[in-house]
Assembly symmetry: C2
């Protein structure tokens, strides 16, 4: 078993209202110096050896990300170890 | 400016219905061999040098994660480079 991480983030040209809400809230807790926040998704998959990189790319592009508005990256992580 | 990534994942003992929905959908696209999926959030922050690690921890624990049900980790990334 391998742990695979798929990161899905809004494309740079796409507005991210959730991230902007975080930026506005930072002042209320007294933290200045954060100029931008983008919010995306992180998926952790437990995968066995029968699953190829092509399979993982298909899963990420069809099921996990909306590729019209989001970019994704697939990262393999050692079993039991965190990225 | 530094890019900081905050990963927020549901705690291991918390049910993750979004992740389970992904597991069930995998069969429909012909991918077997994925035994578990957990869905969390990924935040990318653009931070200047005035922001300390303690500030980042405060931001993550009070604003980005619900620490009752979620774990978080703060990861510093080289400026302009992706984690």
């Amino acid at each position: 078993m391998t742990r695979v991480v798929v990161n899905v983030m809004p494309k740079a040209e796409i507005l991210d209202p959730q991230g902007q809400a975080v930026v506005r809230a930072l002042g209320r807790i007294g933290v200045n110096g954060v100029s931008d926040v983008r919010q995306g998704k992180r998926f952790e998959l437990e995968v066995d050896d029968s699953v190829s990189d092509a399979d993982l790319d298909k899963v990420a592009s069809t099921l996990l990300a909306n590729t019209v508005i989001e970019d994704y990256e697939v990262v393999s992580v050692e079993s039991g170890k965190e990225a």
